[in-house]
Structures are given as C-alpha cells and as structure tokens.
Symmetry: C2
Subunit: 152 residues, 2 copies
C-alpha cells in the first residue's frame, strides 16, 4: 500500500496551487488521479513526481504545450533525445530574444527616468520621450518577436 496524497498535500509539496493542479488536470497535463468514495482526488508518488517536473519546467519558462511534449518524452525513454534538446534550445533562443529586447528597453527607460529634469521648462522628459520616438536611441520594433512585456 503506497502513500496517498490529497490535492492540498500535493500543493504543499510542490508549491503548485490547488486550483492550478486541477487546471493542469483539465488541460490533460497530468492524468486524472484516483478518487475516494466521496469523490476527492488521491495521488500517488508518481503523480507527485510528474507535478514537480511540470512545476520545474514552468519555472524555466517552458509553455504548457512544450511541457506536455517533454513529459511524454520523459515517460517514453527513447534512444533519441533530440526532440527534448530541440525544445530546450528553442526555449533558450526565446529567452535570448526577450533579453535583447529588455536590454534595449532598459536603456531607454533609464535615460528617461534618470534624466535630471532641468526644471522641466514646459515639458516633462518622460512624456516628451513617449511622445516622440526620435528621442530614443534604439528601435523597439517588437512586431515579430511576440515579446510579452507586461510589467508589475
């Protein structure tokens, strides 16, 4: 008789919120676990490991589709791990792209926010720069990069 975990215990052990665990199940990322007679989920050790894997992959920025593929690869250990490497490299490339963009933004923002506004003779530097891209140094043409820059 192996150990069984309630969904709350799974949550505490992996750091994934209860609602999120149910969400993952509904998305098919983790298999539906067994249930008690009353209908509550009961997980085993294997389920715990899968969830930890999923959590870790999310922390590293993989999206749920890629994670599904990685988990499938993990379950079916093949001789060929090329697909897994490809996903990882794709993720690395995405992170690199976003870092490049963010670095440019940072520079612009720093120039904007740290300019010692000289008595703001009629104009505020921040507002001014936002109103006229020619006051920027670089270009932030994120049309193709699909960068998600939502802040705080």
């Amino acid at each position: 008789m192996t150990k069984e975990y309630s969904i709350g215990q799974m949550s505490r052990r992996t750091g994934v919120k209860v609602t999120t665990i149910r969400y993952y199940e509904s998305r098919g990322l983790i298999p539906s676990p067994g249930r008690t007679q009353g209908g509550q989920r009961r997980y085993d050790e294997a389920a715990l490991e899968r969830l930890a894997f999923l959590r870790h992959a999310r922390e590293l920025g993989f999206n749920l589709d890629d994670i599904a593929e990685l988990m499938a690869l993990a379950e079916t250990p093949s001789e060929d791990c090329a697909p897994a490497y490809e996903i990882a490299r794709k993720q690395l490339a995405a992170v690199d792209r976003r870092m490049t963009i963010l670095a440019q933004l940072r520079e612009e923002l720093a120039r904007m926010a740290n300019a010692d506004d000289p008595g703001h003779a009629g104009k505020c530097r921040v507002i001014e720069v936002l109103g006229d891209h020619r006051l920027c140094i670089g270009s932030h043409d994120l049309s193709d990069s699909r960068a998600d820059l939502s802040g705080s």
Copy 2:
C-alpha cells in the same frame, strides 16, 4: 478644415492594428472619435498623436493602466511631473527584475541545452534536469515576481 483619417489610415500610420484601435477605444484609452453619416470613425491629428504616444509606451512595456495615467498627465501639463517619473522608474524596476530572472533562466537552459549529451547513458540531460532542481545552479523562485515567461 483639418485632415481626417479613417481607422485603417490610423493603423497604417501608427502600426497599431485596426482591431486594437477599437479595443483601446472600448477600454477608454483613446476618446471616441467623430463618425461619418454611415457610422465610420474619423480621426483628427490630435487623435493620431495620442495613438502614437500609446503605441510607443506599449513598445516600452508600460501596461495600459499606467499608460492611461501617463496620457492624462500629458494632456494636463502640470508643474509637477513626479508622477510620470515614478511610473517610468517603476517600469524600469520591473524590467530589471525580469532581466535578472531571465539571465538565471538563460544560464540554466544553456547548461541544459548545450551539454554534450555523452551518449546519454540511459538518461537525457534535459529531462533529467527538469526532473530534479538540485541539478540546477541557481534558484528560480518566481513566486512573488509575477514574471511572465511565456516563450515563442
């Protein structure tokens, strides 16, 4: 008689998609423009400038709430531009946070993806690392940072 622009011309001139312009209007970020007898939107020069401002601010990663505030400040030029600077600095701090996190991720991913898998004696490095955070160097505890890391 000033120039008038259709929504499509606004789109071409600012690079903001037609649907997005309508979305901004529905969110109250830009005022409802005049209409033709047939009901089509007609914008003036001022509207064009507001939209360009909005676009530029989005490119720099500001969220729509902050942009609304910045635009209000821009319309009502006060002696005190401190609020605008505060928003810009907040944005800068957010960008810095995200850069830090991404740099850590990048390192981990690079280690994972560039490891020359030595014949993968039973295990794939990528899968292995994802399954065990202890194989990581740093920590990626993004619990509070609200980092959005969606890739590609």
